[in-house]
């Protein structure tokens, strides 16, 4: 798989590139800021671009804008955003602005090559990826009693995997369940939470994340 890595810290950029190369990925370009990244992507047309969320000049969320720009200009290139921010808000914004073939992982994942490789593979296959830490933080977040309490343990697990961006097939593999069981679980979850079933995985991720972290369960009428 061909990759471009963008991070303004040379230590991280070079380390990540070497790690990925060691793991068998083909790092075809490196960049230290958003314009450089966009040029690299334009030139090399990688499968996935790995982008730090904080880049010059403001070091806040340039990575999200760059991801959106790449997805708009090169629909075949997926984007994995690495971030320090635990808040689901940034991940949601990424999903809203660039709905598919994107991923949002916490930066400390980079040394866990297995997680990184899995995420890159899933993005390349067209899924979206949300960091499990963010999802579990959302599921576990303090809240009043509500529909979430009605979910069975299994349904909660399925909900978490859906929120991480996994397809039904991936959920089957992860939980060693039959496709039928998973589909039944998904239907139950949507019914209990009062969400509309969506045929499209990305919208499903967004709906679930919005439910968990957004306005759905918390605001009073």
């Amino acid at each position: 798989m061909r990759l471009v890595v963008a991070d303004d810290s040379m230590l991280l950029r070079e380390g990540l590139a070497r790690l990925l190369a060691d793991a068998g990925f083909d790092v075809v370009g490196k960049a230290e800021d958003a314009p450089g990244l966009l040029r690299r992507v334009e030139l090399t047309r990688p499968d996935v671009a790995i982008v730090d969320i904080k880049m010059p000049p403001t070091h806040t969320d340039e990575g999200i804008a760059a991801a959106q720009e790449i997805r708009r200009a090169h629909p075949k290139v997926g984007v994995l955003v690495l971030s320090q921010y635990l808040e689901s808000r940034y991940a949601m914004r990424l999903l809203q602005e660039a709905p598919d073939k994107v991923g949002y992982l916490l930066k400390d994942r980079v040394s866990d090559i297995a997680v990184l490789a899995d995420a890159l593979k899933r993005i390349d296959e067209g899924e979206c990826v949300i960091d499990p830490t963010i999802v579990s933080r959302l599921i576990k977040r303090p809240r009043e009693e509500g529909p979430l309490d009605e979910l069975t343990e299994r349904e909660r697990e399925v909900l978490g995997l859906m929120a991480e961006g996994r397809s039904n097939r991936a959920v089957c593999q992860a939980l060693f369940l039959s496709p039928k069981t998973v589909e039944a679980n998904v239907r139950q979850i949507f019914r209990k939470l009062g969400l509309q079933q969506s045929p499209d995985d990305h919208r499903r991720v967004l709906a679930v994340l919005a439910y968990l972290g957004g306005t759905g369960g918390r605001r009073e009428g």
């Binding site: 810290s9 230590l11 991280l12 380390g15 990540l16 070497r18 790690l19 060691d22 904080k54 070091h59 806040t60 969320d61 320090q84 921010y85 635990l86 808040e87 689901s88 808000r89 940034y90 930066k107 400390d108 980079v110 040394s111 866990d112 090559i113 933080r137 959302l138 977040r141 303090p142 809240r143 009043e144 972290g213 957004g214 918390r218 605001r219 009073e220």
Partner: protein, 570 residues
């Protein structure tokens, strides 16, 4: 004081005495024996005397009062060079001072209302007129005038007579009347010039007095003109009518001055009423509103000196006297130092008596409000320095958060990458213990990174500066028991957002909270119902107070509290 009181009966007596002289020898007098003449003589003289004495009493140290008194006396003295007079001294005084009234009345007119002649031209004109009237027309001919030579057998002696020279007397008189014509016209011109170059407000004050004065001087000119050839003022029908007109003009002059006094008194009483109304419970800035109304300038401001070259209004807000924008600043001085400046329409306080009225009527209230303004300005200083300290602290926290994220955390992540690379280089044939220790180190590093992230987030949540209050509170709700009822999506200033965020985040540390925030009348109002009382209530109060806001805490049942913060947000 006694002297002034004594002048009242003296003036009355002077009038009566002069009338007696005129009645004694009606043919040689202006007043004659007619009722109209008596009325003109007494009316004009007494009016000037009375008005002058009252003015003198009201405005100590103002020359206008004494000058009007002098003019009234001089008006009477013109009758004293009458052959019918018994006393040689009175006759002589009459000879010298018969023409003294016009320059003295003109002096009073030009000095009105301040008491001083402001221009060099005015001073010169008055000096010339006095010299012309008293020296050239009065004293010089008197030195050579023997009444007997001129055929007046009943006249008393001229006490000043040096030598009898009728030809010289005639010549001197003719020169004197020519000169008199010139200085009378000069006085009229100077007065007109003065009115012309006054501002509108000042013109309203001085114009009536100047018009009456100039009418009088005009009649004097006419009288002098009829006397040019003759060398003395005749007592024919024309002269008599002109003299009656002069009397009327002088009476009007006295009346206009009296009217000015009356009006000033009205202003003073309205100012006094204002001060009384303000009383001790005057709201800050209330004096300004009152003065603005009393003086008729809605944009009037009061500026109090509150320190080295610094000024504040009644509410303590700073005022820059350099930025007057075409408005004037009039100092109200007390004991040699300005207690306040009135910033007003440029022509409003040209009338100096009004300033005195304002200063005396509002003195206590001004002093009171100045002290308040000073205290408020100090409070304002304190408040803004508190806001600056908090702002500096916040900026420091933001910087620290960024440093931790972009510096320490980046390095730790880089380090963990390095460990991972090292680990993969070890290969399967190496010592398994080393690999296990590397794994431990990596796990430890991972925990350090997570803790660092938490620490940085606690110092300052980046989402607050990036996306604002609503986003930050929603993010807070992912980790703390926060129930959101309502949050404004708009952005506020960083200081307001930080304060509002902490009003929610602090109580959320100790228990569940329910938050509702909205913009109400220029303030961000945050209502928090907290399960337990937060620890940092005082800090929260300081923070909200530094932004001019209020934080109210109400104990609810079961240890809970309701917190309401109102933070002005423009």
């Amino acid at each position: 004081m006694l002297f002034r009181l004594a002048l009242w009966p003296a003036g009355l007596a002077l009038g009566a005495f002069s009338l007696a002289i005129a009645r004694d020898e009606p043919a040689s007098s202006f007043a004659g024996s007619s009722l109209g003449g008596a009325v003109a003589l007494l009316g004009a003289g007494w009016a000037l005397l009375a008005c002058g004495l009252v003015f003198w009493g009201r405005r100590r140290g103002n020359a206008v009062g004494p000058l009007l008194v002098a003019a009234g006396c001089a008006w009477f003295l013109a009758e004293w060079d009458n052959p019918g007079v018994d006393s040689a001294a009175a006759f002589t005084i009459g000879l010298v001072l018969f023409a003294a009234c016009p320059p003295v009345a003109a002096w009073a007119m030009l000095a009105y209302p301040g008491g001083r002649l402001g221009l060099r031209e005015e001073r010169a004109a008055v000096a010339i007129a006095l010299a012309g009237a008293v020296l050239v027309l009065g004293l010089l001919p008197a030195l050579f005038y023997d009444p007997a030579t001129f055929g007046c057998v009943q006249c008393p002696d001229n006490l000043l007579l040096v030598s009898d020279d009728p030809g010289l007397v005639d010549d001197l008189n003719r020169v004197g009347f020519h000169l008199g014509l010139a200085w009378s016209l000069l006085l009229i011109a100077v007065a007109a010039w003065r009115v012309a170059r006054s501002s509108r407000t000042r013109r309203r004050v001085v114009a009536p007095v100047v018009i009456a004065g100039c009418a009088y001087l005009g009649l004097v000119v006419a009288t002098f003109t009829t006397s040019l050839e003759r060398g003395f003022v005749g007592s024919g029908e024309l002269e008599r009518r002109l003299w009656l007109g002069q009397g009327a003009a002088l009476a009007v002059l006295a009346a206009t001055v009296a009217w000015g006094l009356l009006r000033a008194r009205r202003t003073r009483s309205s100012l006094a009423r204002l001060v009384v109304e303000l009383g001790e419970s005057a709201p800050p800035g209330g004096l300004r509103d009152g003065l603005a109304e009393a003086l008729g300038d809605a944009e009037l401001e009061l500026a109090y000196p509150v320190g080295e070259d610094r000024f504040a209004d009644g509410r303590g807000r700073p005022i820059d006297l350099a930025l007057l924008d075409g408005r004037a600043a009039t100092p109200l001085v007390r004991e040699g130092r300005p207690v306040a400046f009135i910033l007003h329409r440029a022509d409003l306080l040209d009338n100096p008596e009004l300033i005195e009225e304002v200063a005396s009527a509002a003195r206590l209230a001004l002093e009171n409000e100045r002290l308040q303004a000073e205290a408020r300005a100090q409070l304002e200083d304190l408040r803004s320095s508190r806001a600056r300290i908090i702002e500096a602290g916040d900026a420091e926290r933001r910087r620290l958060e960024r440093d931790l994220h972009d510096g320490a955390q980046q390095r730790l992540v880089g380090l963990s990458l390095g460990l991972r690379l090292l680990r993969s280089r070890l290969g399967a044939d190496e010592d398994g213990r080393l690999a296990a220790r590397l794994d431990d180190a990596e796990a430890e590093l991972g925990r350090a990174i997570a803790e660092l992230r938490q620490l940085a987030h606690g110092i300052h949540p980046a989402v607050l500066s990036d996306e604002g209050l609503a986003a930050a509170v929603e993010a807070l709700a992912e980790e703390a028991p926060v129930r959101i009822v309502d949050l404004p999506q708009e952005r506020f200033s960083p200081a307001v957002e930080t304060a509002a965020y902490l009003v929610v985040a602090e109580p959320a540390k100790t228990g569940a909270v329910r938050v509702s925030a909205q913009r109400l009348d220029g303030a961000l109002v945050v209502d928090v119902e907290a399960e337990a009382e937060p620890d940092g209530l005082l800090d929260l109060k300081d923070r909200v107070g530094a932004l001019d806001g209020r934080l109210e805490v109400e104990r609810a049942t079961a240890g809970g509290v309701r917190i309401r913060a109102e933070i002005p947000c423009g």
